[in-house]
């Protein structure tokens, strides 16, 4: 079953075609890596899927809803973690969890129980009453992710979730992604760390707004007779003519 479908999805800003008629499908429960160099159009494509931006042409479906007409319905079945940390810095850890869980309509009692569970799992019990802005970056990202999946969405969209953190924190972060995936949450993740691409079930590589390849990491390595995803990526990225923006 496909939970994300895109057909010729296109976004233009003036003369600039940020996303150029991409088509792909993501299966339920999959960890889907959405790769591409900076400025390839990953974030724009993801924002369209999340209902934050309207496509110029083409259509898409997320969780069975049309991204153009039913974007508000999509929003209750997805979680989203943006590239820029965007929880409320002036709210405490548990307050951020409570706020977003409340917005998604989770009942008060359930929020309490689940918050305690989550804080224990993350080892954040001591930070429960810490203002989020004073947490270290790696912790902030873990918290952002946990908030994004707190309401058990069908799909979670992660936009470069591990930018700027050290390898061990990245590793822990991927453990959390796997754990969410095992709960049946489909994970749609953009990254430009190629070692992370290896963790994905399937990956697509975007170049200049188009999807160049889409397959599992092992198949891609076979096709391009490359030792790692890094090598595959470099061959693809070389085709880019668009300047980094």
């Amino acid at each position: 079953m496909n939970v994300i479908k895109a057909e010729n999805l296109t976004k233009r800003f003036g003369n600039f075609t940020a996303v150029d008629a991409i088509s792909f499908e993501v299966k339920k429960g999959e960890i889907f890596g959405f790769l591409g160099a900076n400025g390839a159009g990953k974030t724009t494509a993801m924002r369209m899927l999340c209902g934050l931006s309207s496509p110029t042409s083409g259509r898409g479906e997320v969780a069975g809803f049309d991204i153009e007409k039913q974007s508000e319905k999509i929003k209750s079945s997805i979680g989203y973690m943006s590239q820029k940390f965007s929880l409320y810095g002036d709210l405490k850890v548990y307050e951020n969890i409570r706020l977003f869980a409340g917005i998604y309509g989770m009942p008060e009692k359930k929020i309490k129980v689940r918050t305690d569970e989550l804080l224990e799992k993350l080892g954040f019990q001591k930070e429960r009453n810490t203002l989020v802005k004073s947490l270290p970056l790696g912790w902030k990202q873990k918290l952002s992710f946990s908030v994004a999946v707190f309401h058990d969405p069908q799909i979670v969209f992660l936009d470069e979730p591990t930018g700027g953190v050290d390898p061990s924190a990245r590793r822990q972060f991927w453990e959390m992604i796997y754990e969410a995936s095992s709960r049946g949450i489909t994970v749609f993740v953009t990254t430009h760390y190629m070692d992370e691409a290896e963790y994905c079930h399937r990956v697509s590589i975007m170049v200049d707004g188009k999807i160049e390849v889409l397959d599992s990491p092992s198949n891609l390595k076979k096709i391009y007779s490359a030792a790692s995803m890094d090598e595959v990526f470099h061959r693809m990225a070389r085709k880019a003519v668009r300047n980094e923006t």
């Binding site: 924002r47 999340c50 209902g51 934050l52 931006s53 309207s54 974007s71 508000e72 319905k73 929003k75 209750s76 997805i78 989203y80 943006s82 820029k84 940390f85 965007s86 929880l87 409320y88 810095g89 002036d90 709210l91 307050e95 409570r98 706020l99 977003f100 409340g102 917005i103 998604y104 309509g105 203002l131």
Partner: protein, 370 residues
């Protein structure tokens, strides 16, 4: 859902290091200082008297002028030219020239005397007011003289005495006029600027996007932004009532209820207006300047400082579209005249229309998509 959003807004306001102090300090400073400073009463007028008569009568007039409290005698000049020099040096504002034979004309020959008042009208209002104060004192003086020496002739001259009675503000105390208007200004500034900056701040911080990707309804989000400022508006108003009573012994002649009802509509108008601006602004700077532009114009043509009736026709048309104008009318008439709901029906309708327009606009202009 809205409960969580409102809770968040309040936590953010109280956790801010600056906002609670602003919300408390701004009304106190404005209401404690401004009525004394922003005052149209003309006092301490410097006067030069050219006394050509040197009589007891002319001295008595001079004493009377000084003892009125409005005038400060700068000098008794030799002649008019010397007095004019004082005006040119800006050390004097008015000249009163008393002709020779002043006393004898008045008391002996009984043919009446003429005095000349010359007033510096660089500041038109002050010039005109000084001259009319002075004329008033002189009129008083002549009445005094008449009572003292009732000449057989003057007894038959009918005199028209005009005794002005200033209703609702008997002593023409400018402070009483300003305090209600200042409360309006406070509500406008605080409840307009704060929400305007709030949403733009969220846009800049990126938290707006996180909210936009949730299923929160547009009107719920806007309402959650409005309600805290509504509460703050009530707080400011109550604080204002307190200061008006304890410092200026000013109690509304009308009912508190009327003021609270109108204020609650008014706060919705300005907060809604602030939210509209924030929806169209990408940065704090932009939001701030656009807001400032509108607030400045709205305050200046609201009738707060200058009466609407004396504005040119085009400005009067703008005032019809100015919610501030209606609310200032309401505040002044309830505070000073004791007007009730039935007297303020037009204002009530006008304010309700503004409230609906701005808040619907705020919801419509808030787009969860970019």
């Amino acid at each position: 859902m809205i409960k969580y959003l409102i809770e968040k807004e309040f936590k953010q306001i109280f956790r801010n290091r600056f906002l609670p102090r602003l919300i408390l300090g701004f009304p106190c400073i404005t209401l404690l200082l401004m009525p004394w400073a922003a005052n149209f009463e003309v006092k301490n007028i410097n006067i030069s008297i050219v006394d050509n008569d040197h009589s007891s009568c002319s001295r008595r007039l001079a004493d009377k002028i000084v003892s009125s409290g409005y005038f400060k005698l700068i000098d008794i000049a030799e002649n008019y030219a010397a007095a004019l020099e004082n005006i040119e040096l800006d050390s004097s504002d008015v000249i009163l020239e008393i002709p020779d034979n002043f006393e004898s004309d008045l008391t002996v020959t009984d043919k009446g005397a003429s005095l000349m008042i010359s007033s510096n009208a660089v500041n038109g209002t002050k010039g005109a007011l000084s001259a009319s104060y002075l004329a008033g004192i002189i009129r008083d003086f002549s009445a005094e003289l008449r009572r003292e020496n009732p000449s057989p002739q003057s007894a038959f001259i009918p005199v028209i005495n005009i005794i002005p009675q200033y209703r609702f503000n008997p002593n023409l105390d400018y402070k009483i006029f300003m305090v209600p208007a200042l409360m309006v200004m406070l509500l406008t500034m605080l409840c307009g600027f704060l929400p305007a900056l709030n949403i733009v701040g969220e846009k800049e911080a990126g938290t707006m996007e996180q909210i936009n990707v949730t299923p929160v309804k547009k009107h719920i989000f806007i309402l959650a932004k409005l309600i805290p400022y509504w509460v703050i508006g009530f707080f400011i108003l109550t604080l204002g009532f307190g200061i008006a009573f304890f410092v200026y012994s000013l109690m509304p002649a009308g009912s508190f209820l009327t003021i609270y009802v109108f204020s609650s509509i008014y706060v919705l108008i300005v907060s809604g207006f602030g939210l509209v601006i924030s929806n169209y602004s990408k940065t704090m700077q932009q939001g701030m300047f656009v807001m400032y532009f509108f607030i400045l114009i709205l305050i200046l043509i609201s009738g707060m400082f200058t009466p609407v009736n004396s504005m040119p026709w085009w400005a009067k048309i703008i005032t019809v579209l100015n919610p501030l104008k209606y609310f200032i009318e309401v505040m002044r008439s309830v505070y000073l005249m004791g007007s009730g709901f039935t007297d303020l029906f037009i204002q009530f309708i006008a304010l309700c229309v503004f409230a609906v327009i701005f808040n619907v606009w705020a919801v419509l202009s808030y787009s969860k998509k970019s």
